[in-house]
């Protein structure tokens, strides 16, 4: 069994994000870059499938700047077997999905696991787009994955608006990881040492023969409208009065 899993390089979720002075991107000074949190969960799940299946290979893929090697090394240190970095700039979700399709066609995995959402663009698109382009079934926002004994399908529980939905997808399939799928492991020191020697292949996006012209163009960026801080009330009584006569919401 082969599992392909994606890892995007994004700012640490704890970092303070501000629009830069030219309004076309974010202030990058001082930002720590990490594996997208949902992708850490995706990697963890791939490793658990591998551990349960015995003979499985986990390939971790990132698309972006050459610095994304760091995030791939993190994936390798967690336990992935090898990594592929597709380098390119100014790639929107549609371009990323098309690139992923090329890699999937080359690797023929049984399962592709992406995160539900990249916490930088907050698009929540790449997994679904990739599944469609491949003609594969999808199970998005999953919190539980069970591979059938005969490995021909997977039962996936999805976090949906009204509760939990379970669907079954024949393999190969694409799934997207939600927060409650698992608790990702930390890379161990031996894991980090080993990761340095694991194969990391680099491919230029331009060499894949896909049209990566952006379909969504960011014209400008601005900070959100500021919300004025109100005031601190001294007691429950004051709070009730304020809600009644000031805010008029009680």
């Amino acid at each position: 069994m082969k599992i392909l899993v994606t890892a995007k390089r994004v700012p640490d979720p704890e970092s303070t994000i501000k629009v830069n002075s030219s309004g076309d991107g974010i202030e990058e000074a001082g930002i720590k870059w990490v594996v997208n949190p949902f992708d850490e969960i995706a990697i963890e799940e791939a490793l658990r499938v591998k551990e349960a299946q015995g003979d499985a290979e986990v390939v971790v893929v990132s698309i972006g700047p050459s610095e994304a090697q760091e995030q791939l090394r993190t994936g390798l240190a967690m336990g992935a077997d090898r990594a592929i970095l597709v380098t390119g700039e100014n790639l929107d979700t549609s371009a990323v999905a098309k690139i992923l399709v090329k890699i999937v066609e080359k690797e023929s995995p049984d399962i592709v696991i992406t995160g539900k959402q990249a916490i930088d663009d907050d698009s929540n698109e790449v997994g679904q787009m990739t599944a469609q382009l491949l003609g594969w079934p999808q199970a998005t926002f999953i919190s539980e994955l069970k591979i059938a004994d005969d490995k021909s399908s997977a039962e996936c529980t999805r976090e949906v608006d009204g509760g939990m939905e379970t669907i079954s997808v024949p393999l190969p399939a694409l799934i997207t990881a939600d927060l409650r799928l698992n608790e990702p492991r930390y890379a161990s020191l031996p894991g980090i040492m080993k990761a340095r020697k694991k194969p990391l292949e680099q491919i230029e996006a331009a060499s894949l023969g896909v049209d990566t012209t952006p379909k969504i163009v960011i014209k400008s960026m601005a900070p959100p409208p500021a919300r004025e801080a109100g005031r601190i009330v001294e007691s429950v009584d004051e709070l009730v009065t304020a809600l009644q006569s000031e805010a008029k919401v009680l």
């Binding site: 979720p13 994000i17 501000k18 979700t93 549609s94 539900k116 916490i119 930088d120 907050d122 929540n124 698109e125 790449v126 679904q128 787009m129 599944a131 469609q132 382009l133 003609g135 079934p137 999808q138 199970a139 998005t140 926002f141 976090e159 949906v160 608006d161 009204g162 509760g163 939990m164 939905e165 379970t166 669907i167 079954s168 997808v169 024949p170 399939a173 927060l179 409650r180 952006p214 379909k215 969504i216 163009v217 014209k219 960026m221 601005a222 900070p223 959100p224 801080a229 109100g230 005031r231 601190i232 009330v233 429950v236 009584d237 709070l239 009730v240 809600l243 805010a247 919401v249 009680l250």
Partner: protein
């Protein structure tokens, strides 16, 4: 001139308010392109839904009634919507940014080689769109360059379209067959609650890790919810801890809400949580830490131990009613 197709998702025979919000955005887009706004109802046994949809304020309703589309799974829904877009000459397809919308919209965009913008919060007169990024730290103005466009609409960003009248309903005859490798529905475990739906509620009481345990979460917050007729919400921390079901999570990666009154109780106010509730009209926070970031977005903050303050508040609200 090109038409706008709005996906009318539905459950239990009715259409959620989120669709009226998507319809409002759809109408605005149709106004810019000079076309009509058409609701698409897809499913199995959908006469009742189609009737409800006809009163929501669209120019027209089209239906695709097919057993294969019963559970609105993404692969088959995309086939149906592709057909509906072709039949109605729609170049823009609009979804509500709900779990169904987010599941299907990107897949449809890929199928149509369309441009897509997810979770939009604004439509400018020049056709550019606004959408939040980085947990709402940034609002981007974006342009969709492909001829066919797919958008999903943040459910708090527009006032719902005004309903009324009765739009004509046209049943499309479309051959729909699930592909051999289609996903199959197994089961749905619905969260049962007598409280208002989170994304439609006028009042929300939301709790965080400060509540300490599932028992205390329920014991402290349920009476306040009852007194206010409010929906119950939660931070990620308590959903992860299993205090409440996942569909109560509010934030960047949960639900986005904007009620008239939002109570944040024992919630620190991480940026990921603020991303889901910052647009509420009146925000009230109760937290024992005066430095908690939640106070920076609160209209009224009470620095107190919630285990004392919330029961007292509940009694006083009951008395005031």
């Amino acid at each position: 001139m090109s038409n706008v197709l709005v996906y009318a998702e539905h459950a239990h025979g009715s259409v959620p308010k989120a669709v009226s919000v998507a319809l409002a955005a759809g109408k605005k887009l149709a106004g810019l392109s000079g076309g009509q706004t058409i609701l698409a109802v897809v499913g199995s046994g959908i006469d009742e839904v189609a009737k409800a949809a006809a009163g929501l304020g669209a120019d027209k309703v089209v239906t695709i009634d097919n057993a294969a589309a019963e559970h609105a799974l993404a692969d088959i829904s995309v086939e149906a919507l592709k057909a509906a877009a072709a039949a109605t000459d729609a170049k823009t397809i609009v979804f509500a940014a709900t779990s169904k919308g987010k599941d299907i919209a990107p897949r449809l965009a890929a199928a149509l080689d369309a441009s897509i913008a997810s979770d939009i919060t604004g439509i400018n007169d020049d056709g550019t769109l606004q959408r939040p990024m980085w947990a709402g730290n940034v609002f981007a103005t974006v342009e969709l360059s492909a001829e066919t466009k797919v958008v999903s609409v943040r459910t708090t960003a527009f006032d719902p379209a005004e309903g009324g009248g009765e739009a004509p309903v046209e049943a499309l005859s479309v051959e729909l067959a699930a592909p051999a490798n289609a996903a199959k529905f197994v089961s749905l475990e619905e969260t049962k609650s007598d409280r208002p739906v989170l994304t439609e509620a006028e009042r929300i009481v939301s709790g965080g890790r400060g509540l300490k345990s599932a028992e205390q979460f329920a014991e402290i917050l349920n009476p306040l919810c009852d007194a206010l007729g409010a929906a119950l919400g939660a931070s990620r921390a308590v959903v992860d801890a299993g205090f409440v079901p996942n569909d109560l999570q509010i934030g960047q990666t949960g639900k986005v809400v904007a009620p008239t009154l939002y109570f944040a109780i024992g919630i620190s106010g991480a940026i990921q949580h603020l991303a889901g509730m910052k647009d509420s009209k009146v925000i009230c926070a109760i937290n024992k830490d005066e430095e908690a970031p939640i106070f920076s977005v609160s209209d009224f903050g009470l620095v107190a131990d919630l285990f004392q303050a919330v029961p007292e508040l509940t009694e006083k609200i009951k008395a005031a009613a």
